[in-house]
Symmetry: C2
Subunit: 644 residues, 2 copies
């Protein structure tokens, strides 16, 4: 089966009212800020030691490894973010910095290709002895992704060669005819190997990714066998009583009917499965992907496109178990969900996958980062009461304020590389067709019938439902433009060169236009009024509550715009949802207001925690802001689901 292609990042430039502030952050703030952190230059932040670990492994300095076993991946994700940034915004100085880091990485690589500072420093005799915890293959995967991105952006081979040498060693160590039947404890190397295959054409990388996936759930279970090895040493206390479903190795992947275990591991694996299904034309593997996708998106996903209901082990729990104030909802897991969904859309051409991709990107991926680019949420709650987010309690993982950096710092560089690669999410392209998936103002160059077509999209989405797409081509050429009609759009109009299309052809959720790509203007006019959304009543936590959405954006109430004790508010769902643009708020945002009431607290006798007293209410205006922007002002309560 074929996979619709992405537009290379250097062929697209984003210039969007909603996204620009974030995309600009990547280059101007996040990349230099994270570079300082990787180099332990920020006094206010706990040392990362990441570059230092490489220097020690390279023999440049003496010292001990410091940080998590997967610390190396932070540098790879940073390089990947830089690569995507360089693709659209060349910067000689920044490129030189990366080239120097690549030299350091090369020095830290072993003669046989092995590359991991944790095991190099701790003792190479332990390498590959603890796959379930060691994260060597995880770090390898991120290295490969970084190498591919940097090669694509700059054409430079050095990092690609480093990654290939390591990939060759991995293929050698874990190939079909070798003794080791191992596979990664944290999936990611599969994605890296597939990307490496895609740029080099070397099929053994693809085959190794397939092997890693097919081995999961085989009996006897590798993770239970490797702990008997003479050199096995446990790294993480919490894995003493290891649960095979944690890393999705409880069953062969085709037999997994529900999304289980650590959410990030899961969606990274599903993404690789989707790629492999396409590459090998493997229908049963694609079916497995669909089953898992449906389980997540129909039963285990928050309205914000986040996943992982349990703070302990950052994992999926059961169908419809979606607590709002003690969930995990890791930023990285939503990034992984977007990666998975994009691949499913590439393979199936169905827009429904993109409804979820868009939901994840606009809400949880963005909420993961502060508007100044310098602090981050790892956990993305849907309801917060700062006072009870205490250390050493059941809510200790929930932070009411974004943190500058984390001991386990996967999310910040992951957000950076995702924002830097946002262009890749907007379009698909194939022979004579262009798919428009996201509505983000941008300029792109696309190949239609072997001819370059410039596509320009102008919109104020999601604040406004009007989208103008113009094509420009030296020689006119016939082709198709497929416009995604999001599932939340009930009314819309389509115009071509000013003329409204009356008989709209919809297939797989895309409106299909047959066009001559030459100075044509396509206009989409979506009714994107704010709407009231409810959850399936099996979601116990949301019964009797509603959420406000506008397009893909989830809205929330913050204490700073309302009063404290947000759960005491009730919305009058028959009242109008009024919206207005406040140019001074949060750098300019659309605010929604509606009418409701609030429990009167002043009448209650404080000395009676429980009583027969009746409750009275007072009228209130409820004010909502977009969920991704919460926590950028005064610390306070926040709530997405409001009583109806």
């Amino acid at each position: 089966m074929k996979k619709l292609t992405l537009i290379p990042p250097n062929n697209i430039i984003i210039m969007d009212a909603f996204w620009d502030r974030y995309v600009r952050l990547v280059k101007n703030i996040i990349i230099p800020y994270q570079w300082d952190i990787l180099n332990d230059k920020l006094e206010s932040v706990k040392p990362s030691h990441c570059i230092e670990n490489f220097k020690i492994a390279a023999g440049r300095v003496d010292g001990e490894f410091y940080g998590a076993a997967f610390q190396d991946s932070d540098l790879s994700k940073w390089i990947e973010a830089v690569a995507f940034s360089l693709a659209t915004h060349p910067d000689k100085e920044l490129e030189k910095l990366v080239d120097e880091v690549v030299d350091l990485i090369e020095e830290a690589q072993q003669d046989d290709g092995y590359l991991n500072t944790y095991y190099t420093i701790k003792g190479l005799e332990y390498r590959f002895t603890n796959l379930r915890e060691g994260h060597e293959l995880y770090c390898a995967g991120h290295l490969m992704e970084a190498a591919v991105a940097y090669y694509k952006a700059t054409g430079k081979h050095k990092l690609l060669n480093i990654a290939e040498r390591f990939a060759d060693l991995i293929c050698d160590e874990f190939s079909e005819d070798k003794n080791s039947k191992g596979y990664p404890g944290h999936q990611e190397v599969e994605i890296g190997l597939i990307k490496l295959y895609e740029v080099t054409g070397k099929t053994h990388y693809l085959e190794q990714a397939r092997l890693f996936i097919e081995r999961r759930g085989e009996k006897p279970n590798y993770f239970m066998e490797e702990i008997k090895g003479p050199r096995f040493e446990q790294i993480f206390n919490e894995f003493t009583d290891y649960d095979l479903s944690y890393a999705q190795s409880h069953l062969p992947v085709r037999e997994q009917m529900t999304a289980e275990g650590h959410a990030v591991r899961a969606v990274y694996m599903y993404s690789a499965m989707a790629d492999l299904a396409a590459a090998y034309d493997d229908v049963s593997l694609l079916d497995a992907c669909k089953v898992l996708w449906n389980n997540i998106t129909h039963k285990r996903m928050y309205i914000t496109g986040s996943i992982g209901s349990s703070g302990i082990l950052e994992r999926f729990t059961t169908d419809y178990d979606l607590p709002n104030n003690c969930n995990y909802s890791e930023t990285c897991a939503s990034i992984g969900l977007a990666l998975f969904g994009r691949r499913m859309a590439q393979i199936t051409g169905e827009s429904a996958y993109y409804d979820v991709v868009e939901r994840a990107l606009y809400n949880t991926v963005l909420s993961g980062i502060a508007m100044d680019g310098k602090s981050f949420f790892y956990v993305n709650p849907l309801e917060v009461w700062p006072d009870n987010c205490l250390p050493r309690t059941s809510k200790e993982h929930v932070k009411p304020v974004r943190q500058k950096w984390f001991g386990v710092a996967c999310c910040p560089p992951n957000v950076a590389r995702t924002l830097a690669s946002l262009g890749e999410y907007i379009y698909f392209n194939e022979s004579n067709s262009i798919w428009v998936n996201l509505f983000i103002s941008s300029e792109a160059n696309v190949i239609i019938n072997n001819q370059e077509v410039s596509i320009s999209m102008q919109t104020n989405y999601p604040y406004d439902g009007y989208i103008r797409i113009s094509s420009n081509c030296e020689k006119s050429t016939m082709g198709k433009l497929l416009l995604r009609i999001p599932d939340y759009i009930n009314k819309y109009k389509v115009f071509v060169d000013g003329e409204q299309i009356n008989e709209i052809i919809i297939k797989n959720g895309y409106c299909i236009l047959e066009l001559e790509f030459s100075n044509q203007i396509i206009e989409l006019d979506f009714d994107i009024s704010p709407r009231i959304v409810r959850a399936n009543p099996f979601v116990k936590e949301d019964i009797g509550k509603v959420a406000i959405m506008k397009g893909p954006l989830v809205y929330c109430m913050e204490e700073v715009d309302n009063e404290s004790n947000l759960p005491a508010y009730y919305i009058d769902s028959s009242s109008d949802l009024e919206e207005y643009y406040d140019k001074d708020l949060l750098g300019g945002t659309m605010v929604i207001q509606c009418q409701g009431k609030k429990v009167r607290q002043d009448e209650w006798d404080e000395s009676k925690l429980y009583s027969e007293r009746k409750i009275n209410y007072e009228d209130k205006t409820l004010t909502f802001i977009p969920y991704p922007f919460w926590g950028n002002r005064k610390t306070g309560e926040m709530v997405v689901w409001i009583k109806e």
Copy 2:
């Protein structure tokens, strides 16, 4: 200040419709069942090794210590339960069993009085080197309580002597003029020492208890100093980053304004503080108790009289933070709260304390044990959805089914000793007065003006509000009968010898009757209709919800009497609460029903987790049973707070 006295347990026999099934369980089921467990005789239960540890420490057999560092306390609590049982139900065989165990305990005691199997087996050189985790003083306290109870029940001195020898060693080790300024990491020894003082009159025990309390929060903090000792060895992983408030040693006790840390430790400490305030006439200490009591009961207590909102560290969190489905609410903590409240009532003579004692006993203490006496809740949730009580998730501490025994088995024997000592909770007595605190059918002998008066109480409480108390005395004597009027009673009548009292004198929540104690009959007629109760609106989790109570009993909905998805029910709080006695249900219980509605789930499209669809409802009858009886039938959902 004086403390109203309790009636000795051998002077009271309970014969009560509501309680008898439990009290009988203690003697017939729980005591023999727990004896088998202590001796590792039950194959279906994880070994306790408790008796085996004593045999090893005594040198009778060889072996290693097994179990938690505080395993010894299980035996002491069992002995205490047996002692209370023997006080009212003499049993030669059972007494012989205890005497044999006492011999074993004596053999395990060191020459200098030290007695703890964990440290005796692990190495006595480590004793008292890790007070914050070691639990030696905690176990010592339970030994003292057991010894006092067994001495009172049987008049036998042997166990009392063992306890005194250990107490003398403790006083010697930790007295004012010794180097060690230590105090227990888990409070309990203070209660034991005070009880030992009360039966022996030896004031150095009382003084040592006072010292232990006064030292908490002193700077430098002992728990931070002792870890520097050459023999300090950490026992529990979770204490790596020790939080001083965990064991209430963050501040001097008089400066503690809020209940913090591990809930059981807290209420055991407050109980000792109350005792010490009375013994030393210490007003500031009593004031501290009042502040802490009010903080708990006005802001940090569940409607079921349970405490400890966080599963992690079993601790208090913040004011009004009372989540219903991931709370800890340990059975032992409610036992401790009842012990604290009873002492406060003894000192102040105020009935308000007993409103809480009664709430804790009728709800959480009872819910801690199955109706067959063989399985136990450690954690007492107010809302359960069995599917999501998964191991290795944020709800792993919540069990939808009572467990046979626990690795940390504090609760089962604690429930046993509490039920066995229930008689102690019913009355207070002083010179010419009797306080009636609980309404439990029983026969008691009380001393009024140095004369023995038989008091007989007959009631079907809490199912019925009618209480008949008759006194019988050889020679008539004048005195006072003080009848507690619970805070939930709005209407009631009082009769003396058939004549209604029109001008009722109420003081401190007690109705005071001046009586001639000679064949008099006092009748109380409470209106104890079921009622709808709401929580202070600052309790975010309960806003928009109500609970049903009848007298002190909290009611709950179980799936088995209703349907699944209990949070989808709404109560019509204007409908009548109808009650009926079902003699076949749960051994006979009062059931409450009322009208309401339920969200229609069948209309929802399963493939849409979130949509704009409106919600429809269907009419339903809601059925409630007493909270303490939940989980005694088919496993299923349970909920206390219902949407209004």
